[in-house]
Amino acid sequence: MTAPTSAPEDDLVISTERLTKRYGETIVAVDALALRVRRGEVYGFLGPNGAGKTTTLRMLVGLVQPTAGHATVLGAPPGAPAGLARIGALIEGPAFYPYLSGRDNLRVLARHAGVAETRIPGVLGQVGLSARAGDRTATYSMGMKQRLGVAAALLKDPELLILDEPTNGLDPAGMAEMREFIRSLADGGRTVLLSSHLMGEIEQVADRVGVIRDGSLVAEGTVAQLRGRPGLRVRAEPRAEAARLIGELPGVESVTGDDGLLEVVVDTAQAAAINRMLVQAGVAVSAIYPHTASLEDVFLELTTADGGPRS
């Protein structure tokens, strides 16, 4: 189900080896994580709440020290000024000085980062905040703060963007806009590591996806790879007879039953042939249609099952 993770070392923007974070003796937030993010891609980092996504991201920017293992980000250790100078990050929600305006908050960050303040109007415009830039951030909605967080991440014109749940607090239109924006950033040559628990968000913008559960990467690949091969869904009576007949056909990899439906892993072009065969055999076919597992199906399977890593 997963794509090969090997890539030339030069092509890797983020690389972790057995990256581990423990809190005390019992809590393992991140467990021997091996993450590879390639240059120029949008890498979706999926996982349920508490899976270890944010802890991983915090380690990648040096806010949290790993207990074991190591990571390289843009060729530098996490948190090294040389690396951070080329990274824009929004980690676990935006945090700004409430008594400063959006513009002044960016001014503070630009001065710390050694970035020309002339970039500020541009990034404010990119996230659609120019009109409210002079207002104190205490008056901003959650969505506006999120936008300002993305603007802050863009200040350094970074090669790598690490965005943790960037659409939190945005309305549906804002979410769609943000997805489009993230995609455009990647199309402009940037690498984006996008953490989320929203399947639709990842499905629409990510080139590759890593799924983390209990601190470990349990699957990695393109969205298409994770969703697996398309197949057919067949509703027919008698179901057992239909399953037997379909299973005897050449090219059929598997037939499984689910809620009165048969899930058939087969080339979807065979739908008509299967339908004809079943009807000729006296089986009543009420529905037959192509089906591909959604990323949500895959995610739920990966993050709720007890199975081991899918790699």
Binding site: P81, Y99, A110, R111, H112, A113, G114, A152
Partner: protein, 273 residues
């Protein structure tokens, strides 16, 4: 580094707490040094000369070791502790200047703001002393420039030592509330009560001599602050013994640098989670 200092100055300048503390401290510093004691009865209290411009250095600096220290302490707590409260520390650190640079910039900005805390009280005190001199028809004679420079420097050092303690507690407690609580506990209960008991329990005397209070007041008295006013200054009172002024300077410098170094160490080592 200069960019980070400018950033921190912008943050401090726009923070309401900075101006509120500066305003209250300036008012109280002048009020308790001049207005209140003069209004009550200057002749019976300290003598008119304490309120005249010539005694400016000694009269004002007596308010720094405790009252001024508490304000500087709070400023120090806000400088670092509020970064944890608001989670803005992570926003700063991912910008890339490095933890030590961010911390150093905060200290430098704080040190510069403390200069304002010293100057405003001295300006306010100078105005009050001139007004009193005119009311009393007394001559306006200013202290020597050298005495003023020493008083201003000592006042800044006293505030800086307290601010560094605030910074340390802000970092250690990762916030403002507990840090301020601990600071008040230290200033009032530990330093205050132990200093009071030291007058009757000789075993405590060596301990109290390393307190911020003892060393701050020792410098103040060396610069002309009347010991009588220090002994009767309410919760910040101190009855001695006073230590040598050089020793007091050294202790305050060691405290200031030690608190700052410990805070820097903790900030560098600990996770920002």
């Amino acid at each position: 580094m200069s960019g980070s200092v400018n950033a921190e100055l912008l943050v401090l300048r726009r923070r309401a707490a900075t101006w509120i503390l500066l305003g209250i401290w300036t008012f109280l510093g002048v009020f308790f040094a001049y207005i209140l004691p003069y209004a009550l009865n200057p002749e019976d209290a300290l003598g008119l000369e304490e309120f005249l411009p010539e005694s400016l250095a000694g009269t004002l600096i007596a308010g720094f070791p405790f009252f001024g220290g508490v304000f500087a302490f709070m400023l120090g707590v806000f400088a670092l502790g509020s970064e944890y409260d608001r989670d803005t520390l992570k926003t700063l650190l991912v910008q890339g200047p490095g933890r030590t640079t961010v911390f150093a910039a905060k200290l430098v900005a704080l040190a510069l703001v403390l200069i304002a805390f010293v100057l405003t009280v001295f300006v306010g005190g100078a105005i009050a002393s001139v007004v009193i001199a005119q009311i009393e028809d007394a001559p306006i004679v200013w202290p020597s420039a050298w005495l003023l420079v020493r008083a201003l420097s000592a006042a800044w050092l006293i505030l800086a030592a307290w601010a560094a303690l605030g910074v340390l507690l802000g970092v250690l407690t990762r916030g403002t509330s507990l840090a301020i609580g601990l600071g008040i506990l230290y200033a009032l209960v530990i330093e205050g009560l132990l200093s009071a008991f030291a007058e009757s329990i000789s075993l405590l005397e060596p301990l109290t001599q390393v307190f911020l209070r003892a060393n701050g007041y020792s410098i103040a008295t060396a610069l002309g602050a009347p010991a009588a006013s220090i002994e009767s200054s309410g919760p910040g009172s101190y009855g001695g013994p006073f230590v040598d002024s050089i020793q007091a300077l050294a202790v305050l410098v060691v405290f200031m640098l030690g608190f700052a170094a410990l805070a820097a160490f903790a900030l560098r080592r600990r996770d920002v989670a």
